[in-house]
């Protein structure tokens, strides 16, 4: 129950930050951070797949509605959710933990979380920006946007995670 409320609040907060604040932030030309994917990253491990995909689609569509890009963020988020399922099924053994683990920096440790966030952010940005441009001739420019935006997003993800860092013992 507690976890549900926490995730709903996180959803609302991240969407508000994304559409009213981060949308207007620019770094070197056209690179904006997309911090809202932190919601998909931080959903608990025991979220069933159908819910994970539904929530990813929902938050993507929600951002889309405010950006006039229907289906764009939604498709990138759904792909991110799929990559998340693959990564967690490979790297996380649930038996090793006392309480139910969550994919946060404080519980899973820096190395795992960095890898996890890096792969998901790159996937999301790659598909988002390429689907948006949708032109082969602009791929080099788009790839550079993917990397700089990812750097920007990752920095913000780590700042957000360190702000809410809670020391928990890991077995």
């Amino acid at each position: 129950m507690n976890s549900i409320i926490k995730n709903i609040l996180r959803y609302i907060l991240l969407v508000l930050i994304q559409i009213f604040l981060l949308k207007n932030m620019v770094l070197f030309g056209l690179n904006t951070p997309y911090l809202y994917i932190l919601f998909i990253l931080l959903l608990p491990f025991e979220t069933p797949n159908w819910l994970l995909f539904f929530l990813s689609f929902l938050i993507g569509l929600n951002i889309d509605v405010f950006n006039d890009t229907v289906g764009l963020h939604a498709s990138a988020c759904v792909i991110t959710a799929f990559v998340r399922v693959s990564i967690t099924s490979i790297t996380v053994q649930k038996d090793n933990y006392d309480s139910d683990p969550e994919p946060t920096l404080s519980i899973m440790g820096f190395r795992w979380f960095f890898f996890y966030a890096l792969v998901l952010t790159l996937t999301h940005h790659f598909f988002l920006l390429n689907l948006e441009v949708f032109r082969f001739s602009e791929i080099p420019a788009t790839i550079s946007r993917v990397f700089i935006s990812s750097l920007f997003t990752l920095t913000l993800i780590f700042i957000a995670e360190l702000l809410f860092f809670r020391k928990k013992q890991r077995k």
Binding site: L30, D68, V70, A74
Partner: protein, 279 residues
């Protein structure tokens, strides 16, 4: 059957991916269809009113930039007043003018939301079909061109800005007869490219690029920007001219929607031409 079910439930993530990706792509493609108005955008009533509330706060942050641009516009308009010209004619008489009817009307609107940093950018304004705004009208700011109206609801309208890959505004360099489409290459929100200008043109730096007046959307001579540099692309016979946009999209707060009173007449005529060609 059981085996099939077992297969599906084992790889359920993949099937969810297929299902949701299909939904998103259908939405994405439908939305790209220029003819079909979608409900999922910022001209939507709920989204529009949320943005309007937030904009009430944001407005104060840009106030000095907006004031500057409005003051500049005032100076420009004052310079055009009849009283600021030397009048050496002796005869004065009142003439009732029945030939010059108003062709273009301007509707003031406030920007409630805008995007600048995407590949395809849109702007939402707080005027809609209630105020006489229709799809396809031109939009200008106080210093230059802004875009074309894209979707309209009762109280809001969204504008496809110049910074969009599908926007083509026919423009020319002031004082020359040549014209070409203006495109945005998606790198810098301050720079657009004017294409299809023949390369025999002796181009001067900082020459004014203005709307050509062809078509029904924009009147002739509205400032777009100044020539930044030009170059021939791949040995062709046309110049690709970089143009520094006059409109500062970051500080855009008030825009004017242009209503062409003779639009339907011109369009009907041009439609007739096409139909008689097809027969």
């Amino acid at each position: 059957m059981l085996n099939l079910w077992r297969f599906i439930s084992k790889y359920n993530a993949f099937f969810f991916l297929i299902i949701y990706l299909t939904i998103s792509f259908v939405l994405l493609i439908r939305n790209n269809d220029f003819q079909r108005a979608s409900n999922f955008n910022t001209s939507n009533q709920i989204v529009g009113s949320i943005y309007q509330e937030v904009n009430a706060v944001n407005k104060y942050l840009n106030l000095n930039l907006v004031n500057d641009s409005l003051a500049n516009e005032n100076v420009m308009l004052r310079n055009r007043l009849k009283s600021s010209f030397l009048d050496d004619s002796v005869v004065t008489q009142t003439v009732v003018d029945t030939i010059n009817r108003v062709k273009y009307e301007y509707i003031l609107a406030e920007v409630v939301n805008k995007s600048i940093t995407s590949r395809n950018n849109y702007i939402t304004i707080n005027r809609g079909s209630k105020d006489g705004i229709k799809k396809g009208m031109g939009v200008v700011g106080s210093s230059g061109i802004v875009g074309i109206v894209w979707n309209v609801s009762e109280n809001f309208a969204s504008i496809q800005s110049v910074l969009h890959e599908d926007t083509r505004i026919t423009s020319s360099i002031e004082g020359t007869p040549y014209f070409g489409p203006l495109i945005w290459e998606g790198k810098d929100p301050g720079i657009v490219t004017l294409t299809d200008i023949p390369n025999q043109l002796d181009l001067k730096l900082n020459a004014r690029v203005v709307t050509s007046g062809l078509g029904v959307i924009f009147p002739k001579g509205i400032l777009i920007g100044n020539v930044l540099k030009s170059g021939v692309k791949g040995g062709g016979s046309f110049l690709d001219i970089s143009v520094k946009l006059a409109t500062n999209f970051y500080a855009l707060q008030y825009v004017y929607v242009i209503k062409n009173n003779f639009q339907s007449e011109q369009e009907t005529l041009e439609q007739q031409n096409k139909e008689s060609l097809n027969e």
